[in-house]
Amino acid sequence: MSEMRNKVREWILSHSKSVSAEELQDDTPLIKGRIITSLQVMDLVLFIESLRKDSIDTAKLKPESFRDINSLCAVFFNE
């Protein structure tokens, strides 16, 4: 597992109260599955910005980008 993927996964596990390490797969739906809440999504964006060392234009974000860990890594880390 890549370093960025691992850090995103660890962030989700440490912030979400509704998923265990065993349950959280790379294709587990984060929003539809209630893993990430409305108040956590902005913090997740800020965390990804800190990993990228680059800002994210939130106005351009699409629902598909936050579907699961796979989509986050594809959109923000080109993985």
Partner: protein, 285 residues
């Protein structure tokens, strides 16, 4: 700005004033007919009907970050500080060019209802819900806007809501009943509307977590008439209100969803589609 009501200009069935309308005659009959149809939809889930006050405590709205998200929409209930000297000073003045000159005001603790469903969460606050709850109410809602169009974009407007409070599966089942029911009513009324994903008009949206959430999660669907006018919306709140108002089952916060109808907008879409002559209006059946 033009309004479908312009076609009624020669009658005494309406007047409009700064984002508000008064309706009578055929227009009022139509308004009532639509609200009865919305109540029929509420009856599909045996929703309990409530009549709520017009004011909401600012404290309740603060818990859902309303004043951070929608300060531009809020309308406040303001009273004068009630000392004799203050009232005397106020009463000695006259309205200047339509503007009241307020003297000292009492602390502002209440807001005119901005959305009908907020009352429902407050009603059930801190109560454990052993079963799914369905409620319905109609409220005169107040939202300050940049411009107004009679029937379509008003400062004071009528909103009928049907609310579900339950777990994820119960919320899903609720929306699966509501959506086709709304579509059926649109069809019977001869109104063409298209479902679109939407978000609420947040202040400073780029800095607002709730706005980002609405952008990323398909939580708001609107039935849009003529590509511009939302007649109804289906809104998924996840546990936003469940947490803020401590609505829970077995110590876990419940989710909520609501279906909202802008009653005057249905009247507007209807007379734009079928004209102002009630003899040509289809029966909603």
């Amino acid at each position: 700005m033009s309004s479908p009501l312009d076609n009624f200009a020669d009658s005494y069935q309406w007047y409009a004033d700064e984002g508000q309308v008064a309706l009578g005659g055929d227009l009022l009959a139509l308004w009532r007919q639509f609200d009865r149809a919305f109540l029929d939809i509420a009856a599909l889930v045996s929703a309990e009907e409530y009549a709520f006050p017009v004011l909401l405590p600012a404290e309740a709205l603060d818990r859902i970050d309303y004043f951070q998200s929608f300060p531009h929409l809020a309308t406040f209930a303001i009273n004068l500080e009630k000392s004799h000297a203050n009232l005397e000073k106020f009463s000695a003045q006259s309205v200047d060019n339509g503007v009241l000159q307020l003297t000292e005001t009492a602390p502002v603790k209440f807001v005119l209802t901005p959305s009908a469903c907020y009352h429902c969460y407050r009603l059930l606050e801190n109560q454990a819900q052993g079963r799914v709850r369905y409620l319905t109410t109609i409220a005169k809602c107040f939202r300050r806007e940049d411009f107004y169009v009679p029937l379509e974009r008003q400062w004071g407007f009528s909103m009928r809501e049907i609310v579900c409070i339950g777990n994820e599966a119960e919320i899903t089942a609720f929306t699966e009943i509501m959506r086709p029911a709304v579509e059926s009513l649109l069809d019977r009324a001869g109104l063409v509307a298209v479902w679109q994903q939407a978000s609420d008009p947040f202040f400073n949206p780029s800095r607002n977590a709730h706005h980002l959430w609405q952008q990323l999660a398909p939580v708001k669907q609107e039935a849009v008439f003529d590509e511009r006018l939302a007649l109804a919306s289906i809104n998924l709140h996840h546990d936003h209100f469940g947490k803020a108002f401590n609505l829970q089952r077995e110590n876990a916060p419940l989710e909520s969803a609501c279906v909202a109808f802008g009653v005057e907008r249905w009247v507007s879409a209807f007379i734009q589609t079928h004209g102002v002559d009630s003899r040509n209006w289809p029966d909603l059946g």
